[in-house]
Amino acid sequence: MSERTIAARAADFATESVGARALLIAVSIAFLSLFLFLPLAIVFAQAFAHGIGAYFAAFVDPDARAAIALTLTIAVVAVPLNAAFGVAAAWAIAKFEFVGKNVLTTLIDLPFSVSPVVAGLVFVLVFGAQGVLGSWVAAHGLRIIFAPTGIVLATLFVTFPFVARELIPLMQQQGVAEEEAALTLGAGGLRAFFTVTLPNVRWALLYGVLLCNARAMGEFGAVSVVSGHIRGLTNTIPLQVEILYNEYNIVAAFALASLLALLALVTLALKAYLEWRIVGAVAHGRAR
């Protein structure tokens, strides 16, 4: 009759029936429960299996404390380095046109397509006893493999692209007009960067740092190869979790693992929030 009912009927035909919708939602939730939600839940269930006392007892162990301290140290060294690199790479790639830009972008993403184990192995092949620089390292009395330095290098490798790949697309979208305006108005290059560019990408930068940090604290494969698993010295939290689990110390293993799971949940919550802010920043950039 009226136009609205016809449009509404057309829309009804252009979607699934109520039954099909319910089925698809049920399939999605069931699949995600089996593979995502239950694994997350079991981390906390196992950690608290013997009560709160047993849970906190796991953190009194000096090896556990050393592992937590080492993990924090690694992140404090690796994340700022990769963040500084990410900003420099994004400035060069997003704001300038030069030959070989696509190759450079691909090379920056390279660590994502290398197995973590291979990422650890390459540093053993450089600095290990039989490595390319092995005799040089030994002659200078340095210790890189089976020492925290090697863990930092392996972590830098696996978390290398995170900040750069968040910044590059956003800075490309925002263009150079605002920086050019700042320069025209008499600002120096650094001032334009700190008052125009950086505020424009602050949420994406924070988002990249967050992902980089989560991976730096949680990396297992690469770190496992270079660490040597020396208790109290070169065990990060994930490596300590592995040792405790293999010793059937299930509550302690999951208690330590729950720290990393909490970090993951906080990362996801902040990510959801920041994505909402970045969408705002992009809309803001387009409106100009």
Partner: protein, 283 residues
Amino acid sequence: MTLSIAGASFKRPSVLPGFAPAIGVTLVYLTLIVLLPLAALILKASGLGFGGLWAVATQPRVLAALKTTFGISLAAALIDVLFGAIVAWTLTRYRFPGRRLVDALVDLPFALPTAVAGIALASLYAPNGWLGAPLAAIGVKIAFTRWGILVALTFVGLPFVVRTVQPLIEELEREVEEVSATLGATRWRTVRRVLLPPLVPALLTGLALAFARGVGEYGSVIFIAGNIAYVSEIAPLLIVVKLEEYDYAGATAIAAIMLVISFVMLLTINLIQAWSRRRVSHV
């Protein structure tokens, strides 16, 4: 100044300052952290020669590990494409309680450290676990078999498919579906002939990303796999085993083989994306 004159040939002139230090820092850091270490691997592998690499690659245990890794990664990536597409569709098109929470949690495999995922999946699917116990009652064993590897790789690959397909589903124009329905197509026919074709490149990219991630995965697999040589041993684990036996040549050879295959995958993903861009601009 000499730099800007020399650089004029490869860089388009710009009034913005800071290109030289930014590109300098980028290239030096990239070389030190990524390129030189990878070059060491290539150097060591070329020291073995093609014959040496081939000898390692055709060892029965290595061959079995490579087959396990690539076969199960592909199977897991296919499962991820099927269910990832359903999840992406459900999250984008339907409104239901808890949708935003579910949407945020899809990224869990990106954020949860692989060792944590590994012990969680192993406990869940172990014969005395929440899911393992009922499955064991009907005679199905998941943990400590090849099925366990499939479960772990499905877990790590899922967000790659969902997050690649989701933006494209958001961009689909509702009018096209309405036209299709108005012209008398059933909903299923519209889904197959109108909605699915534009999603194919994204599904293929998701498949390739999930597969590439699965091939390199280590932490989430080793706890649930059982790690029996010739049966449930993955290639990254075999690299670790060779290293522990001080067989650096063996470890290097397997790593070089995996690296070559990773590069081929990376190239494939880029080609699929270039192809889909062309297709989109054509329409």
